[in-house]
């Protein structure tokens, strides 16, 4: 049947992760080429290079410009409501009987999640670069809403790409975006989720790059996005560190955050990287199980590869094709992760674990019933793992959870998943 001769090339086995955990994690990353150790870089078509270079330049200038920082700080304070509280969840702590649990309340930000910290920063840069249009991708819709909000605030037109499946499961956010004047474009290709929304946004940018800025919503994508988004989100960790020193008189023992693309986790962890007494724990979406296709946990089960412009852990097959992933949470349903997390994994600075769909759904009630807080399904992944970890700790220890977002957007989907009426 086959006419293939014996000299036909055979493909070598894919390389196993070249992890080199001999060095400890530095805060002086990325380097000039956007590398966090081996990870990161810039794998995009030449068409985007000039815009990325321009963004690097403008961002470096803005960082050194006190007026830029002052304007952003003012917005974060008066428009977003920062600083967000660090709240001692006493009833939950007592119930679990382990560590004292503290919640960094990013859910109390205007628009209900951490995403606004980044979109305001990038919208300011958009104006500085004299670009006149914004595009964004969104999964859970929180980044879409935060982008629409920033654009409405500054009077910029905004197009948000969102997987058709996510449009369905995150309806309330779709409505909010439209109310603020953004155009939501459902993406019907592939798995109709976050990954496909990023693809579509990138394609839009390929044609519109001369006048449009792409506000990427997480610490993913080509350099300088992973660095820039981390920096904008680091306000979470900086505040939290000070709040701990004030309220506890010391640093916490552990911090837990959920990881989709990894922006709330990166913003929370980064200011603590050198505080090696603080355990940092990132929680990925464990979905329905460990089999490929059943989860969205590239740091737990994936291998280094290239997706959406950077080199990082990714779910892929032996040919380098991105694998399908699954999570109940639209914001975590993504096969890749930010390159700095890959760096923190390989340098062993951060522990990564994953939390199944059912554990996440169940943990929603923990804060709802005991603390009166509705938590985003993304954040429930961190919550569920944090509850398990807290039980192994003592009452005089302190654990902080990055409460990345509020759960109103998930109420209808949660009812559907639980077979309840809405």
């Amino acid at each position: 049947m086959s006419t293939i001769d014996s000299t036909a090339p055979k493909i070598v086995d894919p390389k196993s992760p070249s992890s080199n955990p001999t060095t400890s994690a530095s805060m002086q990353v990325p380097d000039a080429s956007g590398r966090f150790g081996d990870f990161g870089g810039r794998y995009v078509p030449e068409t985007l290079t000039r815009a990325l270079e321009e963004l690097v330049e403008e961002y470096q200038k803005a960082r050194k410009d006190p007026d830029f920082q002052a304007e952003l700080d003012e917005l974060l304070h008066r428009f977003v409501g920062r600083p967000s509280p660090l709240y001692h969840a006493k009833r939950l702590s007592g119930l679990l009987g382990g560590a004292q649990i503290w919640l960094k309340r990013e859910d109390l930000n205007h628009t209900g999640a951490h995403k606004i910290n980044n979109t305001l920063g990038q919208a300011l840069l958009t104006l500085r670069m004299k670009k006149t249009r914004v595009i964004a991708e969104t999964g859970a819709g929180q980044h879409g809403v935060a982008s629409a909000t920033a654009c409405a605030h500054f009077g910029l037109p905004c197009v948000v790409y969102m997987g058709a499946e996510d449009v369905r499961r995150q309806k309330p956010n779709v409505f909010s975006m439209r109310l603020m004047g953004a155009e939501v474009r459902p993406v019907e290709s592939g798995s109709k989720t976050l990954r496909d929304a990023v693809n579509e946004a990138m394609r839009d940018w390929m044609s519109s790059v001369e006048h449009t800025h792409y506000i990427i919503g997480s610490v993913i994508g080509p350099h300088p996005f992973p660095q820039m988004v981390r920096d904008f989100q680091s306000v979470i960790g900086k505040e939290c560190r000070e709040q701990c020193l004030t309220s506890l008189g010391r640093l916490p023992d552990a911090i837990v955050a959920c990881v989709g693309g990894g922006s709330n986790a990166a913003g929370m962890f980064y200011p603590f990287v050198q505080d090696t007494s603080v355990r940092l724990i990132g929680v990925e979406a464990g979905g329905r199980g460990q089999q490929s296709g059943e989860h969205a946990s590239p740091l737990t089960y994936g291998s280094p590869g290239v997706l959406h412009g950077s080199y990082s852990y990714v779910m892929q097959d032996n040919d380098g094709q991105t694998s399908d992933v699954h999570s109940i949470s639209a914001g975590l349903d993504y096969p890749g992760v930010g390159p700095e997390h890959s760096y923190w994994k390989d340098t062993k600075r951060v522990e990564y674990t994953s939390c199944r769909d059912d554990e996440a759904i169940e943990s929603f009630d923990l804060l709802a019933r005991n603390e009166g807080i509705l938590t985003a399904l993304e954040t429930c992944h961190a919550l569920a793992k944090a509850a398990q970890i807290a039980k192994t700790m003592t009452r005089d220890q302190h654990l902080v959870i990055c409460l990345s977002g509020r759960g109103d957007k998930d109420a209808a989907e949660l009812a559907r998943l639980r077979g309840q009426e809405w």
Binding site: S2, T3, I4, D5, T7, A8, P9, K10, I11, V12, P14, K15, S33, G41, R42, Y43, V44, P45, E46, T47, L48, T49, R50, A51, S189, G190, R195, N199, M202, R203, M206, S207, V209, E210, G305, V306, L307, H308, G309, Y311, Q316, N318, D319, G320, Q321, T322
Partner: protein
């Protein structure tokens, strides 16, 4: 010297221009791809670009994207592409270039990929998401294996950078006509001819123009200023119904290619 280098030397001697169709490997299967490549050669195409389907292409428009989705939906594997290309090798004189996303190359290891592609019968590779800054290792490995690494220049590339890319490129320089993704265009940018001419004066590397080219008028306009033309989406669209009727799909592609080749003829000068 690769088969691509030889091709352009030959063409230069005769004043002819290269015509390079792009087709997607495995759309809908490799047997059909092999048949299409044979026909392209018979029609007089100088060379062909074979697109390796990728799950998340950023530089591709809806037509090529959909062809990738069909091929991957039929469970196409990299090894099948190499096996089929290799098995037709003895009957083919036309050089082949692989168009491959870096994710695929990285997964095999750069050298492993180059060796496998070369052994299968490819003469070079275009990696649309490997920028000149990230391409040093790949470039060295390609030189070592006498394999071309064809790099791209786009309308957003500043002039000095374009020259740097031309210097790093081998085989030919891929001049992307538009700021955007692949796909047929009715109109090409007004300054395209001038921009190609500018770089043509400053490099000895052959220059081929691609993206958006779909009509005889485009060919007539561009052929005089470059060394070759690449036509992708227009041909892939002709072939997209191959799942229903292979002959009909081939006939429509042949019709298009014949009209484009005819438009190229006067350029012989």
């Amino acid at each position: 010297m690769t088969a691509i280098d030889e091709l352009f030397q030959r063409l230069k001697g005769s004043g002819k221009k290269a015509f390079m169709p792009f087709i997607t490997a495995g759309d809908p299967n490799m047997t059909f791809t092999s048949k299409v490549l044979q026909r392209l050669e018979t029609l007089g195409c100088s060379m062909a670009e074979v697109g390796f389907p990728y799950s998340d292409p950023i530089a591709d428009g809806p037509v090529i994207q959909a062809s990738y989705t069909r091929a991957l939906g039929n469970k196409l594997k990299l090894q099948q592409i190499f096996d089929q290309i290799q098995s037709d090798r003895s009957e083919r004189k036309m050089p082949l270039v692989a168009m491959v996303s870096y994710a695929i190359i990285h997964r095999q290891g750069q050298e492993g990929f180059i060796q496998a592609a070369k052994q299968a019968g490819f003469s070079g590779v275009i990696v649309p998401d490997l920028l000149v800054e990230e391409s040093q290792t790949m470039s060295q490995l390609c030189r070592k294996h006498d394999f071309n690494l064809i790099q791209l220049v786009t309308p957003t590339t500043p002039p000095e950078r374009a020259l740097r890319i031309a210097e790093a490129s081998s085989g030919f320089l891929y001049f992307v006509s538009v700021t955007g993704i692949t796909g047929e265009r009715t109109e090409l940018p007004a300054d395209l001819v001038d921009r190609v001419g500018w770089i043509k004066e400053r490099t000895s590397l052959p220059i081929c123009i691609g993206f958006g080219i779909s009509k005889p008028e485009h060919v007539k306009l561009l052929a005089p200023v470059c060394d070759g033309l690449i036509v992708g989406s227009a041909i892939v669209r002709c072939l997209e119904k191959a799942g229903e009727s292979q002959e009909q799909a081939l006939a429509s592609a042949e019709h298009l290619i014949a009209s484009l080749l005819a438009a190229l003829e006067p350029a012989k000068g």
